[in-house]
């Protein structure tokens, strides 16, 4: 998540700003700290009387006013030009809507009619417009390697215009304290070339296929008839809850619990039966299922792609 190893245009721009201000800052530190140390040592060795007051104004004017003013002027120019570039609205962007929730991210592509969670697929090179809002408290959308962060504020939609320049998987995380599990509110951005992305879109647009094995069918049965369906949606089934993440493509997602653990059958079983042991305090209650039922639900969910 090193923001100086950018994979997006915005982050690259800010990284270069960093190197400018880091260079200036380091130089200022070395010079001024040098003055402090020389003054402290020099004054320590001095014998006899101290010097006149008159010599102070050179220090104060040059060191305290003129040089800082010149440096700040430079910094201000960098600030303004970069700010303008980062706030440039994207042309013909792919719009992605992200809603911050305690403690996961609902993701949808209004133009493509896709809904998913905690995993954002994007095409490399195409301008993106992320629409950010929240359904509860303030969160902040931050993928350090791609772009600056933007908060999600109740009653307001914020925009983040960005572009991914290098394919890869980028981790993002909520950056505004949002309560108990603020620490476990991550997500990933999967940046792919355009054809892979188009393929992903096409697959997401199809409702998930029905269960193909007996165990999966039982899993679907259990999911629909248990408390799962109250909060989660699986398209094409009666499960249409909206409190928790949409599960229609869960099998294809890389992580569980908003970036907390890898999506493996074992982790998924643990999550379903006792998510509190993985992410204490998350809002999903434990689901009391028999061992066989749990296995069946896991098999079914892993088949949803």
């Amino acid at each position: 998540m090193n923001l100086l190893d950018p994979g997006g245009a915005n982050a690259a721009r800010i990284a270069s700003v960093w190197w400018i201000i880091f260079g200036l800052g380091a130089a200022v530190y070395v010079v001024v700290a040098g003055f402090v140390l020389v003054a402290a040592f020099r004054g320590r060795r001095r014998r006899g009387d101290t010097e006149a007051v008159g010599r102070d104004s050179a220090f104060i004017w040059i060191g305290g006013v003129l040089v800082p003013a010149a440096i700040l002027m430079l910094v201000a120019v960098v600030t303004v030009s970069t700010t303008r570039a980062l706030r440039q609205p994207a042309k013909d962007p792919l719009t992605i809507s992200v809603v911050g929730k305690r403690w996961w991210w609902a993701v949808s592509y209004p133009g493509e009619r896709i809904t998913t969670a905690n995993e954002i697929h994007v095409p490399v090179g195409r301008p993106l417009r992320i629409e950010l809002t929240t359904s509860d408290v303030i969160h902040s959308f931050w993928v350090p390697q791609l772009s600056q962060k933007v908060d999600t504020i109740p009653g307001q939609v914020n925009h983040l215009d960005m572009k991914v320049t290098k394919p890869g998987i980028y981790r993002g995380q909520c950056a505004e304290y949002c309560g108990l599990e603020h620490a476990r509110m991550a997500f990933i951005v999967v940046a792919e070339d355009t054809t892979t992305f188009e393929r992903w879109v096409a697959r997401e647009q199809r409702p998930p296929g029905g269960p193909s094995a007996e165990q999966e069918a039982r899993g679907q049965q259990v999911l629909v008839s248990s408390s799962c369906a109250g909060c989660h949606t699986v398209r094409g089934t009666p499960a249409d809850g909206t409190l928790g993440p949409d599960l229609s493509d869960l099998g294809s997602r890389r992580m569980l619990g908003a970036g907390t653990v890898d999506n493996t059958p074992d982790n998924l079983r643990r999550w379903i039966t006792d998510s509190q042991s993985i992410k204490p305090g998350n809002l999903m209650p434990p689901v009391p299922l028999s061992r066989d039922d749990a296995d069946a639900v896991v098999a079914y969910l892993e088949s949803l792609k």
């Binding site: 923001l3 201000i21 104060i60 800082p68 910094v75 600030t79 700010t83 908060d151 109740p154 505004e176």
Partner: protein
Amino acid sequence: MTTIAQPSADAAQPVLPGEVEEAMERRWRDAPGIPGFFASVDHKKIGVRYMVTAFVFFFLAGVQALFLRAQLAQPDAHVVGPQAYNELFTMHGVTMIFLFNTPVLAGFGNYLLPLMLGTRDMAFPRLNAFSYWIFLFSGLFMYSSYLFGSPPDGGWFAYVPLTEKAYSPGLNLDFWALGVAFIGISTTVGAINFIVTAFKMRAPGMTLNRMPMFVWSILAMAFMVIFSVPIVTLASMLLEFDRLFGTKFFLAAAGGSALLYQHLFWFWGHPEVYILFVPATGMISMIIPTFSRRPLAGYVWVATSLVAISFISFGVWVHHMFATGMPALAMSFFSAASLLIAIPSGVQFFAWISTMWHGRVRWTTPMLFALGFLLIFLLGGITGVMVAVLPFDWQVTDSYFIVAHFHYVLNGAVVFPIFGALYYWVPKITGRLLSERLGKWSFWMMFVGFNVTFFPMHVLGLLGMPRRVWTYSAGLGWDGLNLLISIGSGVFALGTLLTVANLVWARRRGAPAGADPWDADSLEWSVSSPPPHWNFTTIPSVAGRHPLWEGAALDEHREALAGEDDAVESMGGAGALTRTTPITGGLDTRPERLLVVPRETYLPFVAALGVAAVFVGMLVDAALVGGVGVLLGAIGIVWWGWRTEEDLV
């Protein structure tokens, strides 16, 4: 003036015949025992109480920080759970800001201001006691939340809507919101006292351009308090109304606004940073000249910088809200203002350098802390300019880079001066010098521990680690640095404990300090250590910026002044015998009137208890308790007002 004269022997206060001194002692000392404790209005006792209480909170906050670091030392650890972690970091911030930094500086101000200004007490001694009791009660109020198992857990800034009833149903945030408004009373009342004292209680001859720089800094701080604290009181009380009475100020669904809360909070929140930082620089501006044996370079420029910082600090609050999606133009203004604040800071910084450069530096413990401050604050200032750069702030805000930045400024550049000030002024307070050897060990452990703790946090921020996370996954590149930081925090904590040990040791075994152990220049060093209850047997007449260095006797003008009116008369021993002290003109320092220093009284304690009961009543939603509080407070204040003509003129 090219050389500094040795302190004049005439500077010392006149030696009194035993029976006169005894008569003064009788007139000023408090009733013995517990009753006297609750009734005292002596600014020196109150100042010490402020400091001791604040340091208790400092060590509580330190323990909280060590728990935080123990939890974060390793990935996926479970030393504490998420709820406990969130309570810990919230209370750590709340304690450091509200219950340590602000009050400990008020404590130094209370103790030192009358001594530096050459007067026998603050302008409002009873109000002074009142503001201490309010501070103590509000601290106990907030910490009593642990007894109920519901300490605040919404961050020290308590952003809505997370802190609204819907998402934080417990009492946790009620403790926060009421506690903040509660302690705001103490801070505000204290600031009023500082302002009036600095303007109206200065010794004759101490014109504004002769005030010690620490007084300037307290004055600048007090003005910032007056204009900013009401706004945080407003923010916290509107939040409490939302929670308690169901108003809709911050609820977007009913026409409220979450951003309104942020504007209100940071309108105070940013000046607050300077409210803490400015008095700390004032301490540095006293310590560096003393140990460079030379007047502060650019006195006028430094004083002007303090005023400039106070003004600019009100124009930068939006830089805490850069990521909330505001228009770029508005943000650019605040970005520029934030950059601008570097100039007055630079002026101060080079004034300190120049003072040392042309002086003869003594490397005492207070001076070491001052040098440590310079090296730390320099870095904190530079990262401060970095985060004022809008695009960079968009990346690192709410990351560990910010945690690093503000600990350099608020821990390094405030706590280090406070420790330096302890070594510098505690000999005045207790009459005994602290151990230099232990002091230097303490400094080096704190300095190394500090940098090992907070420097790597910059890197963590650049590596994308967000703030306020109770844990993190392994393999994100954050593991090693976090362990290092946790180790550093332990070293830092041990360093602070060495100073505590030093204070305890010096209380009994320290070498006698004498009136002026450092050959310093300001008036507090002209009286014995510890000073008599009445501070000055003779109120000095001041003829320059550095009364003790300038060789002139402090009572040079007394003859000329005597006999003209009450106020002038009270400057002499007669004033010390009658518990009076002169009030002087704010600009010309002409003795104008008499201030009768009130005797000890329970009124401040009773009134503060009443205020406390009001807040407890609101907390538990009990009209009866609140009613009792209103009654008690009203009785205290009416009685107080009833006596005003007798005491205040």
